[in-house]
Structure formats: C-alpha cells, structure tokens
C-alpha cells in the first residue's frame, strides 16, 4: 500500500498505519465519494443505454479480477477463465430451473442469492481441478492446461451434455420473474446495474483484503520466485490452489450475475474469445493491480461502444462495415493488445499511479 507517495508532511509512524485500509482521511473521503458516484450518481445520470454499458463494464471487471489475481498476483498464467464463468452461470441456472426449492425460499426470493454462492463454490472447485497441474508446471505449460480446461468444459461438457438437459436444445432461458433477490425482481437495467455494483464492490473489498494479508503476501512471493518462496516455508501447492479457488469463485459469481443480465444462457457466451479478452483487459489495464482490472474493463468496453457508434455513420457509405462489425472489433482488440504491450507495457494503472503521485506531491515535488 505504500506504493503511493504520501503528500509532504504526511507520514506513517508504525506498521499498522502503513498497512491501513484507509491511509488518511482524504483517501477515506475519496472512497466514500467514489461509492456515492457509483451507487447514486450513475443511476441518476445515465440513461438505460449507458447503464447497460456500465453493467458490461462491471461484468468484464468481475471476470478480469479473477484473472488479475491469477496472472497479476500469483503468477499463474491462465487462458481458460471463461470456462469457470460458464460453470458458474450454468450452476446458477440449473439450480434456479431444476432444484426443488422449498416454497418459502421461493417466496422470500432466496433462491437466486443462494445459487450465486453455490455457483461460486462449484466454479471454484472446478477451477482447482484444472489448477492441479500448476503444482508441476508453470508458464507456457500452464497456459496449455488452462486452454484444455476451456475446450473440455465449454466446447464439450457444457455444449454437448449440460445444454441438452431439459430438452431445450442449445440455449436456456429463464422465465421472467424467476430471478429475484428478496422482494425485488431483477428485470430492469437499473436493478441489474445495482446487483452488479454490489457484487463488484464486495469482490474488490474481499480481494484487496486478501492481498494485504497472509495469502496475498504468499501469492506475490510465489509470483516473484516460486522456488525462493518454497525455501521460505510457504506451502506453494496450497497457495497456488487457493489462488485458483478464489479466482474460480469470483468467476462463478460473475457467471451467476451474467444470468440475471441476459436471462438466457448459451455456450456461445463463453467461448475461448472471452478468456483471451479478459487477459487482454488486464494487460491493457495493468498487470498486478486491482485498479488495473477495472480501468482495463472500462477502456475496452467503452472503446468498443465508441467504435460501434463511429461505425454507424460510416455505414451509409460502406454498408458492409456494419455487417462485419464483429471482425472490425476483433481487429481493434488485437491491435490494442499489441499496441499496449509494445508501447505501454505497464498499462493504464501505471499512468494513473503517475498522475496520482504528481498531484500528491504538487506543487512541491521532491
């Protein structure tokens, strides 16, 4: 936490302050302001369209946080995160549709919240299963095993077997009114947005606290040098698998959230593209920082929306452009990843850090 330079004359006197959750009153005020903006400001100011964009940002950020934990903090390269999001989404849907809930739980709207937690646990365990090879291999080999997780889970198990349950064919759809939390039915853009904000805030808080406690320090040690970490007495098998579990849990929650956003579910939503997209998001945002995952999500989703808007006026002259927008999007994403890695390898979070330090020290830099 001491990575930010404090303003002149402001310094920590003991370890406790240095590790503090809110380092100064100013930061506390800033965070409360941020929460106010997110919970009150955006719902008041945005119209339905931009609210849905904000929801997409949140969904991307939820997925990206798990990837950030694995790649940015524990050094476990993964290219199969969409599989765990899919497992969460399917667990939640199957529970809502097929599980014989007692009537009082349906009435009090507990079914969906319980299914979110269950989705997290199932996805976490599934993630641990595919994290097992990480005990022996790392780097490129780990990328391959997580890729295998993606293809086995989504393209085989979910597409060929789970999707066929109930004879609905490829896609599941949830009847309106089935997704409710307590007395509130989640069906408007505003309610979906609020669910997203609550879940995302909880995730950020949990992850930030994990990272500044023992597991977080162990993960960073493993990332920096796993052999040295082992020599220091860190149980690297346990902590690697813990990282997979936590990341998988977050992916599962993100997947369960996706169900309430679309009210329909198909393996198409969780292709390998999504896994790569999430890794791209954290590379653009900045590897090894929580803000990075969120900045990256905002950047990627908003840039894609703006690109789409820019394409619409051009479509009068080049009608093919609108039809082939998916390809333009692919190209833009590919170029963005390459451009960031070549010219801005530290990502957006680094620029944010620089700007923040500049203002912290302003007007008298050291």
């Amino acid at each position: 936490m001491s990575s930010v330079w404090l303003p002149c004359g402001d310094y920590h006197q003991n370890y406790h302050e240095d590790q503090g959750w809110w380092q100064s009153k100013f930061i506390k005020g800033k965070m409360i302001l941020l929460l106010l903006v997110v919970f009150v400001g955006i719902p008041l100011l945005f119209d339905e369209y931009w609210m849905s964009v904000a929801t997409m940002v949140g969904y991307t950020a939820m997925g990206a946080l798990g990837v950030q934990l694995l790649i940015g903090y524990a050094g476990l390269l993964t290219l199969g995160h969409a599989a765990f999001i899919a497992v969460g989404a399917y667990t939640s849907t199957m529970l809502i549709l097929q599980f014989p809930w007692p009537q009082f739980m349906l009435d009090s709207g507990l079914a969906y919240p319980v299914s979110i937690v269950a989705a997290g646990i199932v996805a976490g365990l599934w993630s641990v299963l595919f994290g097992l090879p990480s005990v022996k291999v790392k780097g490129f080999y780990l990328i391959l095993t997580t890729m295998a997780a993606q293809f086995i889970t989504v393209d085989f198990i979910l597409t060929q077997y789970v999707s066929q349950i109930g004879g609905r064919g490829q896609a599941f759809s949830l009847p309106p009114g089935t997704i409710k939390i307590g007395p509130w039915v989640i069906d408007t853009e505003l309610s979906v947005y609020l669910v997203m904000v609550v879940l995302l805030s909880l995730m950020v808080i949990v992850l930030a606290n994990l990272l500044r406690s023992k597991p977080g320090r162990a993960w960073v040690a493993i990332r920096d040098n796993d052999i040295a970490a082992e020599a220091l007495g860190i149980n690297i098998v346990w902590y690697k698998l813990l990282a997979f579990f936590v990341a998988g849990f977050m992916a599962g929650v993100a997947g369960a959230f996706w169900v309430c956003n679309t009210a329909a579910l198909s393996p198409e939503h969780f292709q390998w593209f999504l896994s790569l997209w999430l890794v791209g998001v954290i590379l653009i945002g900045g590897v090894g920082s929580i803000q990075g995952a969120i900045f990256g999500s905002i950047f990627m989703v908003v840039v894609m929306e703006v690109l789409q808007m820019a394409v619409i006026p051009l479509a009068d002259y080049y009608p093919s452009l609108l039809m082939d927008f998916a390809y333009v999007k692919d190209m833009a994403f590919g170029l963005a990843i390459c451009g960031f890695l070549i010219y801005e390898p530290n990502g957006l979070a680094y620029r944010w850090w620089q700007a923040k330090n500049y203002f912290n020290l302003w007007p008298f830099s050291y």
């Binding site: 790649i71 390269l77 290219l79 595919f130 097992l132 090879p133 022996k136 291999v137 780097g139 490129f140 080999y141 990328i143 391959l144 095993t145 890729m147 295998a148 997780a149 293809f151 086995i152 393209d155 085989f156 597409t159 060929q160 077997y161 040098n225 052999i227 040295a228 020599a231 790569l276 890794v279 791209g280 590379l283 590897v287 082939d324 998916a326 390809y327 333009v328 999007k329 692919d330 190209m331 833009a332 994403f333 590919g334 170029l335 963005a336 990843i337 390459c338 890695l341 070549i342 390898p345």
Partner: protein
C-alpha cells in the same frame, strides 16, 4: 478391423499435415523463444490465400507456391512490426502479442473473406477413393500426406545444407555465439517467422481441401499445441512424431470413443490427452529439461 486400418491410415495422413504446421511452430520457438498462439490463424491465412489464387484460375500447385511466397512476405512483416520489439520481454507479454496478432488476423480474414464455408471449385483432388488392398483412401488425404512429407524433407534439407539454415540452427543453439560469428539474429528471427507462415500456409491449404475452408480450420491449427507438447517444445523430430500421434489419437478416438461420448469427442481428446500428459512428462518426449535454480 477395417475401422482400425481406416483410422490408422487417416490418422497418419492428417497427422502429416499437423506435423508440417507443428514444424513451423517449433522453428519459431527454437530460434526466437516466442511461444506462438497465432498458429491457427496462420493456417487460415494460408488456406484463404491459396483458395483465392485457385479461384482466380491458377493451377493448384502453382497456387501453393504463390502462397509460399506470400507467406515469406507476411512472415517478415509480422516479425518486424509486432515481434521485433519484444525480444527479451516476459513470457506473458510475448504470448499475448501473438494472441493479439491472432485476433487481428482473424478479424482481417473475416473482413476480407466472410464467414461462409468456401470449397475449392472445381475439386482439386479426385473424390473417388483409391483402393490399396483392404484399405480405401480418399486421394485428398494421400496427396496431402505426400505433399506434407515432401515439404518436411525440403525443410530438413534447408536446415542441414544451406547457409541460412545453418545460421538458424546456430542461433537456436547459442544466440550469443552465433552473433559473434556474424549471424544476423534479426534476420534469423524473420526467417523463422517466414518459414512458419509458409508451413502453416501449406498445411492450411491442404486442410482446406479436406473439409472446406472456414474459421474451424483455424481450430485445427491450434491442434499443433498438443502436438508440440507431446514431442517436446524444441525438438524438430518431436514435432513430426507429435503431429502424427495427434492425428492418430484424434481418428482413433473418433472411431472408438464416439459411441460412448457422443458429440465432439474428436476435437477434445487431443487437449484432454495434453492436460494429462503434462502432469506426468511436462517436457515432452524429446524436449530439453530445464533445471531451475534460484
């Protein structure tokens, strides 16, 4: 028994194509240490370029040779534009640049050629199967296999007997020593990418002849990853054996496991096998084992 021999021959023949693509992958890795995840898109590009030449009336063999030339140009360009600046960067950065490259190429291919399945018209190879004793092989497989083997031999000779091939081997072995002897490492990297584009391109053209060309040919290109892991990442003979083994594995599982696990078991088995194989022998059959020290 007939099913067994059918799977055996088809497996070996498709495996030959995988081996060709895997060879390109291993070359890039050996020479420049880049782990390339864009191999699927390189095969796609090869398939579409060949298709375009063929549609324009160029005979198939000539179209393949023109594809090789286009591959050289594209390989040099790719290396100079995207990969050159990343030498010595962390592994994730390099891998993700190839992922970015694969997105870019996939988007470009989709934009230029659309998403419909294209078929070589008129068919390049005779559809009627050739009978060899009890075996019946469709000529597409046979010719693809022969072409793949010829190209493999050409590449082998290139490495053994030409100046550039020796320079590439030297760089792969010890970069600093090669530099001190006057080998241009930048040229070697570019040449490795050019060869990868070429071998993937021909592989794509051949795969496109079997089932028609669409985005799923790119997925077949991804099968090189199990192949190279099986053979060991930096072993050229490993790539060839790995490619053929993956082809066999795919066809045998398609023949015998499909009744127990209906659906796309054929597409998944190489990856399942790879995940399990990594647990027991992460360095493959002939890869170098790295001993890590703090």
């Amino acid at each position: 028994m007939e099913l067994f021999f059918m799977s055996l021959t088809t497996g070996i023949m498709v495996g030959g194509i995988y081996a060709l693509v895997a060879l390109g992958w291993v070359l890039i890795y050996k020479c420049s240490g880049v782990l390339n995840l864009a191999m699927g898109e390189l095969t796609l590009i090869g398939a579409y370029v060949t298709y375009s030449f063929y549609e324009a009336g160029v005979p198939f063999i000539l179209a393949v040779i023109l594809t090789l030339l286009v591959g050289i140009v594209l390989g040099f360009l790719t290396e100079r534009i995207f990969l050159d600046k990343l030498i010595g960067e962390p592994i994730l950065a390099v891998i993700m640049v190839t992922v970015g490259l694969s997105f870019f190429l996939k988007g470009l291919i989709g934009y230029l050629w659309g998403s419909d399945t294209r078929v070589f018209e008129p068919a390049v190879f005779n559809i009627k199967p050739i009978s060899l004793g009890i075996l019946r092989i469709s000529p597409v497989y046979l010719w693809s296999f022969i072409l793949a083997i010829v190209l493999l031999i050409v590449f082998m000779c290139f490495f053994k007997y030409t100046r550039w091939g020796l320079a590439m081997q030297a760089t792969a072995d010890d970069e600093t020593a090669a530099l001190s002897l006057g080998v241009s490492a930048r040229f070697v990297y570019s040449a490795a990418w050019a060869i990868a584009f070429m071998s993937a391109g021909v592989g794509g053209a051949l795969l496109g002849n079997i089932n028609g060309i669409n985005i799923s040919v790119g997925y077949l290109g991804l099968l090189v990853l199990p192949a190279v892991v099986l053979g060991g990442l930096n072993s050229v003979p490993g790539a060839i054996v790995g490619g053929i083994l993956i082809g066999l594995l795919q066809n045998f599982s398609g023949a015998y496991l499909d009744q127990y696990f209906p659906g796309g078991v054929k597409e998944i088995v190489p990856f399942v096998f790879m995940a399990v194989f990594l647990l027991f022998k992460p360095y493959g059959l002939w890869g170098w084992e790295r001993i890590e020290r703090v």
